[in-house]
């Protein structure tokens, strides 16, 4: 590892050389390489996270390019996972980036998570987030979740058995109509997700039991406390629940 590349972040007391080596030894699954996944992956690759597994089954289209900064005009029509892996490997050749051109499903989630210390949900729909949540719960793999809608975004850091999981939070809720996404907002939320991810890899959850809500119009950032739900169908004792912790 060329430490010079990371010198400026190793000056941060909470990182230092020990933290940098910890990041280099880490593996993270990122599901979604779009508006959130792109800036997030750049931040994790730049920070020197040693292995990134990027899962995305989509093809790059013109309407992606307002916010998906991993891709350029001549990437149109290519698989996102493949283009992301190529771009990130060029950005930081010291790390390993594995592109997986597939949609996350319950059947393939365990295989994707193999060897990963943490997973990140950067997908564009609630069902995929909940599927990843269930897979992570089974392996007790921490999960960072982020989502956007128009000017707004939210971030959560799940430690199964300690904090509420995504099913505790989103069971029974209906997403907004969808389709609203601005690069300035997805970039801001992705940066928050990356900061949370890096801290969790270093052993510190900065938002335990809290939902971080970003309002990119009103320019506010709120922490909303959320508790585990005893009847949660995934981490609680609800129907089919795993009864974790």
């Amino acid at each position: 590892m060329e430490l010079e590349r990371y010198r400026r972040q190793m000056n941060i007391p909470e990182i230092g050389e020990g933290g940098q080596r910890k990041l280099a030894a880490s593996s993270v699954l990122v599901v979604g390489a779009g508006g959130l996944g792109g800036p997030l992956l750049y931040a994790l690759a730049g920070a020197g996270v040693g292995r990134l597994v990027v899962a995305d089954g989509d093809i790059i289209s013109l309407s992606n390019l307002n916010r998906q900064f991993l891709f350029a005009q001549d990437d149109l029509g290519r698989p996102k996972a493949e283009a992301a892996a190529r771009r990130l490997s060029a950005f930081n050749p010291e790390i390993t980036v594995e592109g997986k051109q597939l949609q996350l499903e319950e059947q393939n989630a365990s295989e994707l998570l193999a060897g990963c210390q943490l997973a990140v949900a950067a997908v564009d729909n609630l069902p995929a987030r909940l599927a990843l949540n269930t897979a992570c719960a089974k392996g007790k793999i921490p999960l960072v979740n982020g989502g956007v809608e128009g000017w707004y975004g939210s971030v959560q850091a799940v430690e199964f058995g300690k904090t509420p999981c995504l099913a505790c939070c989103y069971a029974g809720t209906a997403p907004e109509e969808g389709g609203q996404a601005l690069g300035a907002v997805t970039g801001a939320v992705a940066s928050l997700m990356a900061s949370v991810t890096i801290q969790m890899l270093l052993g510190h959850n900065p938002i335990p039991g809290e939902l971080l809500f970003y309002d990119g119009k009103g320019m506010t950032l709120d922490k909303v406390p959320v508790e585990r739900s005893p009847g949660c169908p995934v981490c609680g004792k609800g129907e089919k629940g795993l009864g974790i912790g």
């Binding site: 729909n125 069971a171 029974g172 809720t173 009103g218 909303v224």
Partner: protein, 82 residues
């Protein structure tokens, strides 16, 4: 009366970040929002991530989740996109 806190567009529509409203469950609180701020505010509130006393109403009893006089009810936009 319960304390109700609005986030995002709902805070804009209602013109306030928080207010006190009566209601013994989430449905009753939504009725009060409609009465005070109109149908659009009530529609947005209903589609929000609703948290009653730190627990997601969706994982409790949904719109029948009880709300006490000293409860805190938060309405947060559901951010499912990426």
């Amino acid at each position: 009366m319960a304390m109700v806190r609005y986030h995002g567009r709902l805070a804009e529509l209602t013109g306030c970040r928080e207010e006190s409203l009566e209601g013994t469950n989430v449905t009753r609180v939504l009725d009060q929002i409609k009465k005070r701020h109109g149908s659009e505010a009530a529609r947005l509130a209903k589609r929000s991530h609703i948290i009653v006393d730190k627990r997601s109403a969706g994982a409790e009893k949904g719109f029948r989740t009880p709300v006490g006089t000293d409860s805190m009810v938060e309405f947060i936009p559901v951010c499912g996109g990426g």
